[in-house]
Amino acid sequence: MDLSFTPAEEEFRDEARTWLAENVPAEPLASMDTPDGFEEHRAWEHILFDAGWAVVSWPERFGGREASLVEWLIFEEEYWASGAPGRVSSNGVSLLAPTVFDFGTSEQQDRFLRPMARGDEIWAQGWSEPDAGSDLAGIKTKAQRDGEHFVIEGQKTWCSRGAFADWFFCLVRTDPDSERHAGLSYLLVPADTEGLEARAIGRLDGEPGFAELFFDGARVHERYLLGGEGEGWAVAMATTGSERGLNLRAPGRFMAAADRLVDLYKELADSRGPDLDRRDQVVSAWMGSQAYRWQTYATEARLRGGAPIGSEASFMKVLWSELDVELHATALRLLGRDGERADSSWMDGYVFALSGPIYAGTNEIQRNIISERVLGLPRR
């Protein structure tokens, strides 16, 4: 056990920090949930990719620099500390890419990974349906085989930035007689497919950050099938592992937010005097980000030792999502009379954070997983 960073790791950190300091836009970009902001964020992804920072842990041939997991965690610490923009390509990079690496053919890997990493093709997830939220096995959208094509009928919802995305990764029922987990397939669908319409839904903040997808005879070629036909559930669950685990929310994001919260407290204390009741909430948020940091490095060591990430990813999902809410709620409380103002980054962050305990498997489901799969309690 040696919790100091190696000279190579320190060097990597310095390089990232230096590049970010020189390249991060001085002014915040417009919200990525608006059409203009989406394109601004895409342009930022190009810059990141071209400098080799978009997907540091990927193989070089797909635009990465084969960084270790520790280096990726370091990059994330530096990235968020620098105040850099949110990552508009993260759904593709974090949720889809691990599946492409594991289940994609080499043609699919060559076709999709670089454009995804560069933000040339931005991906949105098409899994949820109006009647299948946390209960994904209830998916009804059908994809009937017609020669080399699948013909899709049905409806998807809650596709983040689905109104602007270039591609969707969808879970559909290719065996019409199947039930629950059987008979599903994992299909990649171009946004410009005929018979597919994406309609924006306003998010909590009123911005068109969600879309509903309506499939009415949309034809997709079988080369866009990821994994085997009818094996979509197993393929998707691999992605779910990433979604809940290390790939989605690195501690750096929350460490940076906690540091900003500490700064906010100091700034307000200078002008309004200290507020000791709320100070304790600031300390709690800071502690949460640190606890998450050390737990993540400990998990990295376990993974390096060959252990699977498995159900323990549920621990991380619950922690970061609830930490994120508390952290932003604390900031709003610190702001007092300004807490209700819509034009603050803390309110934006709060609204965003509130989705955390819901998506990617609600935290109630995560707690079921912890109790049943980690602790071994009886399912019924």
Binding site: R203, P357, E364
Partner: protein, 326 residues
């Protein structure tokens, strides 16, 4: 010691509840979110007609001579309907404060206000006055109460997360009122508490209804023990905040010596209740509650705003600590 309301009070509450159920459905609240004023088309007039708008004025000034114990149930209803009208600023704070001040300013404004012809605004000094642009006279409550006529005043607007709450910094010619600023502040905080209770109750009711009919994994979401206990926890907070808010209303009306401490008690409990109800409602609804098109957020954001307004939980906890001498 009698915590029961009179038949008249209950009837008044029911009449207002019926009015709001008919005239203030979510579509109407949404209109107020989008329009120029943040207010509804005809609701303030309808409330004036029922006598609600001026109820807290003495009968001699055209009011109903009622006090906070009469008003508290109506404030709960206003919260339950997410009513975007200045019942707090005008009826709970403005009118009794003007009546207390008397003199030329009351002469000039009180009867019009009671009749609903002039609207009174209110804000904490150094904070924002909600709806100042649609008010005629704004009371800024700090170490003293400054009354600022809106005509000729400079107004700087800020956007609230609740789009029906138009936030204004107000600056203009002012008259210092001969009225107790501590009492006026407590009237506002007490009224906000009652509204929080109403908002929280709606959030709970709407969520109970939703989870009873939404199925996941083959059974109603509301049959899962985790969901049940989330909702039971929200119900617990509301169950204990409501009597505290009503007791605070009585303390104000009766001039209880512990008024400030017990208004703070109400505001803490009500703020925490509505905060928990909002979190719980969103979590139990899942993704649909997270959309702008679904109505839930109208109450959620009203709850966030009212919970922070007129002293949030931490501010009032400090005031209680001071009252306890610790």
């Amino acid at each position: 010691m009698d915590f029961s309301f009179s038949d008249d009070q209950i009837m008044f509450q029911e009449a207002v509840r019926d009015l709001l159920a008919n005239e203030c459905p979510p579509e109407v609240v949404r209109e107020a979110w989008e329009n120029d004023t943040g207010r509804t088309d005809g609701l303030w007039g309808a409330l004036a007609e029922m006598g609600v708008v001026g109820m807290t004025a003495p009968e001699s000034a055209g009011g109903l001579g009622m006090d906070e114990t009469d008003l508290v149930l109506l404030l709960e209803e206003a919260g339950r309907a997410a009513l975007p009208e200045p019942l707090l600023e005008h009826t709970a704070v403005g009118i009794p404060t003007l009546a207390e001040a008397g003199g030329a300013i009351a002469e000039a404004w009180l009867e019009q206000a009671v009749a609903g012809e002039a609207t009174l605004g209110a804000g904490a000094d150094g904070g924002y006055a909600v709806g100042a642009a649609t008010s005629d006279l704004v009371l800024l409550i700090g170490d003293e109460i400054r009354a600022v006529p809106v005509a000729g005043a400079s107004l700087v607007e800020h956007q609230s997360v609740d789009w029906s709450r138009r936030l204004f910094e107000v600056d203009g010619d002012e008259v210092v009122l001969d009225a107790d600023p501590g009492l006026a502040f407590d009237r506002a905080a007490g009224a906000a508490s009652a509204q929080c209770v109403g908002v929280a109750q709606h959030l709970l009711d709407a969520t109970v209804e939703y989870v009873a009919q939404r199925y996941q994994f083959g059974k109603p979401v509301g049959s899962y023990q985790a969901v049940k206990h989330h909702l039971a926890n929200a119900a617990l907070k509301i169950e204990f905040a409501r009597p505290a808010a009503r007791h605070a209303a009585w303390c104000i009306a009766a001039g209880d010596p512990d008024r400030s401490r017990d208004v703070s008690l109400a505001k803490v409990l009500a703020s925490e209740a509505v905060d928990l109800a909002a979190r719980t409602a969103l979590q139990c609804h899942g993704a649909i509650g997270y959309t702008f098109e679904y109505d839930l957020h109208l109450w959620m954001k009203r709850g966030w705003a009212l919970s922070a307004a007129w002293g949030d939980a931490a501010w009032h906890r400090n005031r209680i600590a001071a009252a306890l001498g610790i």
